[in-house]
């Protein structure tokens, strides 16, 4: 009501001057404006007119055949990098179903002089130097926290091996800094697995409490006095 009054008063007093001339906007007062937009524009707006037809010919077919060959060649070449094989936690049925084996016709040979140092292949001598990694607790690079076991003998062994391993590692690290990171990662995986097996020795999980029930029937006669077994 107040708005109406004010609006009526405004209109009555003479046209309010706006800073731009309405006509200049491109539409006059009173012309039908396009309606309110209620939803986003369609994802595939209909084509207003047909596109010019493509000119086919033998040339184009030849080009297409060439392109198909090219893409196929690349797909089966070692240039097509496959994602790293996932570490199998459990054997899954899908592993047998979808076996992708593209034909890697030999590794590509590169002219190593044109590549920076870090891309060149690591000399294989380095890999073998490291002894089979003993279970050790590497403070700086272990990702999960491993808590020490209760068995004191195990602790002593570990400490000795750790000292050995650390010294060796440091000397190796000083020699090649970056190239070893890949190997280190693999080494870590192995060590973590070893630690897993080690861990279980002292705990309850390893001790075999399983009773397969064969002796159940035999003992039935003797246990009448004992009462319920929890």
């Amino acid at each position: 009501m107040a708005g109406r009054g004010r609006g009526g008063g405004g209109r009555g007093r003479g046209r309010g001057a706006m800073s731009f001339n309405v006509e200049q906007l491109g539409f006059g007062a009173g012309e039908a404006l396009p309606g309110p937009v209620l939803q986003p524009p369609p994802l595939y707006p209909p084509l207003e007119r047909r596109p010019v037809p493509l000119k086919s010919g033998s040339e184009v077919e030849y080009l297409l055949a060439l392109k198909r060959d090219y893409v196929e060649f690349l797909k089966y070449s070692p240039a097509y990098v496959l994602p790293a094989a996932k570490v199998k936690d459990i054997e899954r049925y899908s592993d047998y179903k979808n076996v992708e084996t593209p034909n890697k016709n030999g590794a590509l040979d590169y002219d190593w002089k044109r590549f920076p140092m870090e891309l060149r292949p690591v000399a294989s001598v380095v890999k073998k130097k490291r002894p089979p990694p003993p279970p050790q607790i590497k403070g700086k690079s272990s990702k999960k926290v491993r808590f020490a076991e209760d068995v004191s003998t195990k602790l002593d062994e570990l400490e000795k091996l750790e000292e050995q391993g650390d010294v060796e590692e440091k000397s190796e690290e000083n020699k090649e800094e970056e190239k070893e990171e890949g190997e280190q990662q693999e080494g870590e995986l192995e060590e973590e697995e070893d630690q897993d097996e080690e861990m279980d020795d002292g705990t309850d999980y390893v001790n075999n409490y399983f009773d397969n029930g064969e002796s159940y029937l035999d003992e039935e006669d003797d246990n009448l006095d004992d009462g319920p077994v929890y």
Binding site: S19, G26, L66, Y70, A79, Y80, D111, L119
Partner: protein, 480 residues
């Protein structure tokens, strides 16, 4: 670059090199350069995988490295996205080489494109083995060398003796060179072909021939990528035309053709001096400005209709024009003219320039709104449209292939089986039985898919054509 460009690059790399390389490339696209450890950190792939991807990308010339600013010992890698965009054009390079130099050269180029960059000896050996498989007779190696030196920009030199040694003996010769395809030379050929076909369309086949001769003469005195050539005397042109001999009419009417070319509004060639019978200059930059205008006008016409094209050409000729004048000159009813103008404005084909008569904002101001075209902007916008179109086409092609993957595989298996049977000379009924495994319905579906994929592939080639033209324009307009 822009997001659309990035998406296109990723799609191209995905199609050719797989998902892992794509992740690395996409990562590099977003920054100007990155170190290896950075890449490993952001992509969360294993370091060995990233190294593998980088090796491949460097080998194919898609990634370059230079010393990083922070630490002089570590290289930083950057993606050359222009090289990635060249992939759809590879087949055209192969075709060009085939038409110019023959089948053997085409095989050479194909081998080189397949492996990115490689030692010359291995390429030659592979190409000759393929040749031997295809045809029983094999052309001599020296012929192959000649083509190489024309087209390849090798980091070093010629290898005549080496290759002759190589053919018989599978040893690697000592000073072997690594070869890489010289894309610039290919682009030069494409550019010339564009100009020649433009003249052919506009005037005459003979005029096209004349243009070709003039361009050949131009290369004697001018660098390949200059915007304007150095003057070419008529005498040379005349001699060259007489040498060619395939076109007697051209020789007869040479002068007339030259005059026509000179006076043509497209300004491909202009006469600059009269000494020596006349000196002509090829305006390459001018030519490409004209060609891009034509391309853009056609795009407007196809997208928005002929009335919009009329409005566009009107604005082009008048440079700055008001809305009312558009209605008047274009002879289009007011409302429609307004709709069209604003639609073009929305799509960034034209721009608005405001001219205020007074800076105060009190009272009704008479502000002029002038429409004009900024051709650089429009060309960039058209390039973006091309990127999007190419991406869409590739995605759709992939989608079609995935949808009918089972069918396609079945067909391939049946084909290979029938081929084997035919070789072994099995009776016709077995072959027929096998072929009947594919029902007519499936056959129809397969045919439709095949046609669709072929059409999309063709569309990609045409879009690439367009992209080439627009990119050339931008290059020339930047280099001034």
């Amino acid at each position: 670059m822009s997001v659309d460009c990035g998406i296109l690059c990723s799609k191209i790399i995905l199609e050719h090199f797989g998902g892992v390389v794509k992740t690395v490339a996409h990562d590099l696209f977003k920054v100007s350069s990155k170190t290896l450890s950075n890449i490993v950190a952001t992509t969360k792939l294993q370091r060995s995988q990233v190294i593998e991807c980088l090796r491949i990308l460097v080998r194919y010339g898609l990634v370059t490295y230079k010393v990083s600013l922070q630490n002089p010992k570590i290289p930083e890698y950057s993606l050359s996205y222009e090289k990635v965009l060249l992939f759809p054009r590879y087949v055209r390079y192969m075709l060009l080489v085939k038409t110019l130099y023959g089948d053997e050269a085409e095989l050479l180029i194909e081998e080189l494109l397949r492996s990115g960059s490689e030692k010359a000896s291995s390429i030659i050996v592979r190409a000759t083995t393929r040749l031997k498989e295809i045809k029983k007779g094999c052309k001599e190696i020296p012929q192959l060398i000649i083509k190489q030196e024309d087209l390849f920009m090798s980091p070093s030199l010629s290898l005549k003796e080496l290759t002759q040694m190589e053919e018989g003996h599978p040893e690697v010769p000592a000073n072997d060179v690594t070869l890489r395809v010289n894309f610039d030379r290919f682009h030069q050929e494409f550019r010339d072909n564009i100009m020649i076909s433009a003249i052919k369309r506009r005037i005459d086949d003979n005029a096209g021939e004349l243009m070709r001769v003039i361009l050949q003469q131009m290369y004697i005195r001018t660098e390949a990528w200059e915007p304007i050539s150095n003057p070419i005397p008529v005498v040379e042109i005349r001699n060259a035309v007489h040498k060619v001999k395939t076109n007697p009419r051209l020789a007869q009417h040479l002068d007339q053709y030259l005059k026509v070319l000179d006076e043509d509004s497209s300004n491909f060639i202009t006469k600059v001096a009269d000494s020596g019978g006349g000196q002509y200059v090829v305006n390459i930059r001018e030519a490409f400005i004209q060609l891009s205008w034509a391309a853009v006008e056609n795009i407007v016409e196809e997208r928005f209709g002929s009335k919009a094209a009329r409005v566009f050409r009107l604005i082009k000729s008048k440079h700055f024009i008001e809305q009312e004048q558009i209605q008047q000159y274009a002879l289009i009813p007011a409302k429609e003219a307004k709709l069209i103008t604003y639609r073009l404005l929305e799509e960034c084909f034209i721009q608005i320039q405001e001219l205020r008569k007074s800076m105060s904002s009190a009272g009704p101001n008479k502000t002029f709104f002038l429409f004009h075209i900024d051709i650089d902007q429009v060309v960039k916008k058209c390039l973006e449209i091309c990127y999007k179109a190419l991406t869409n086409s590739m995605v759709r092609r992939q989608h079609e292939r995935d949808e009918h993957k089972r069918l396609i595989e079945k067909q391939q298996r049946i084909e290979s089986l029938t081929a084997n049977l035919r070789e072994q000379g099995a009776p016709a009924d077995q072959i027929d039985e096998l072929e009947e495994l594919l029902t007519p319905l499936e056959n129809e579906a397969l045919e439709r898919v095949r046609i669709m994929i072929a059409r999309l592939g063709e569309a990609e080639l045409r879009v690439d054509d367009n992209m080439f033209l627009l990119q050339l324009y931008l290059m020339y307009s930047n280099c001034k």
